[in-house]
Symmetry: C2
Subunit: 155 residues, 2 copies
Amino acid sequence: MRMSEGVEWAVHCCLGIAWAPDDRALPAARLAAYYSLPAPYLNKQLQALTRAGILASTPGPRGGFRLARPLHAITLMDVVCAIEGTDPAFRCTEIRLNTPEGRATVDPGVPCAVDRAMNRAELAWRRELAGQTLADIHASVHPDVIAGARTHFTD
Amino acid sequence: MRMSEGVEWAVHCCLGIAWAPDDRALPAARLAAYYSLPAPYLNKQLQALTRAGILASTPGPRGGFRLARPLHAITLMDVVCAIEGTDPAFRCTEIRLNTPEGRATVDPGVPCAVDRAMNRAELAWRRELAGQTLADIHASVHPDVIAGARTHFTD
Ligand code: FES
Ligand code: FES
């Protein structure tokens, strides 16, 4: 089970965008160059963040991506859902119904205990991610990194 | 991010094996027939459970798979790790070091705050799964299902 590396890119790009001066829109190519990432694939992640309402994109020669809401209103869960989708990692295919006794006794309206336990675990994971905002991440970043990004994105 | 369906198969097969009478060894083909699963692929999952010390396999015409330890000593985390491996779902590729200021200021010995938060969330998930044993799952199964499996695996 592996999360796509797009999640790491997406979180760091949201921070880079937040650090651009004067709320300026950043094109995918500039973010890709700044973080040494492949621009076409990064652009897909930025589009996904836009569809999820985390970024706003402006077209045109001076266009690019801005934050659609402040860092404290974006959680790691929001970013993970934007990039990875919202489907649960564990999906029960109801194999308990494949046996004769299963078909005879199981109430399909009551989820299998395995499915319930897997969902409880995923909920614990989601709750942790939902409790962490990009403002919390930002707060742990060295000021020189933030100042450097600001300068970098000024011209 | 998706868990392989082998996890669902593995958990239910451990239960089916536990329900076989007289601690008898079950070949992959019998388990596959009982749960209507493809035998060659199920056999791979059973081998993985054996490598993880959850099952013990005996070769030969009367051979097959037995539990290597009782249901209360097997957690959902054990089964997930046996099938999915133990790598974390989120893997930081250190993109914070790809910028000039990152290289200049970041202490690579201190993990990125994003990585730390992702790991905390995965720990919460693992902790839930480690708190749930197959004996807990067994306890929620209808007695007719258990009796049916026992009869099914008797001859
Ligand atoms: S039947 Fe799907 S997890 Fe049990
Ligand atoms: S550098 Fe990898 S998560 Fe931040």
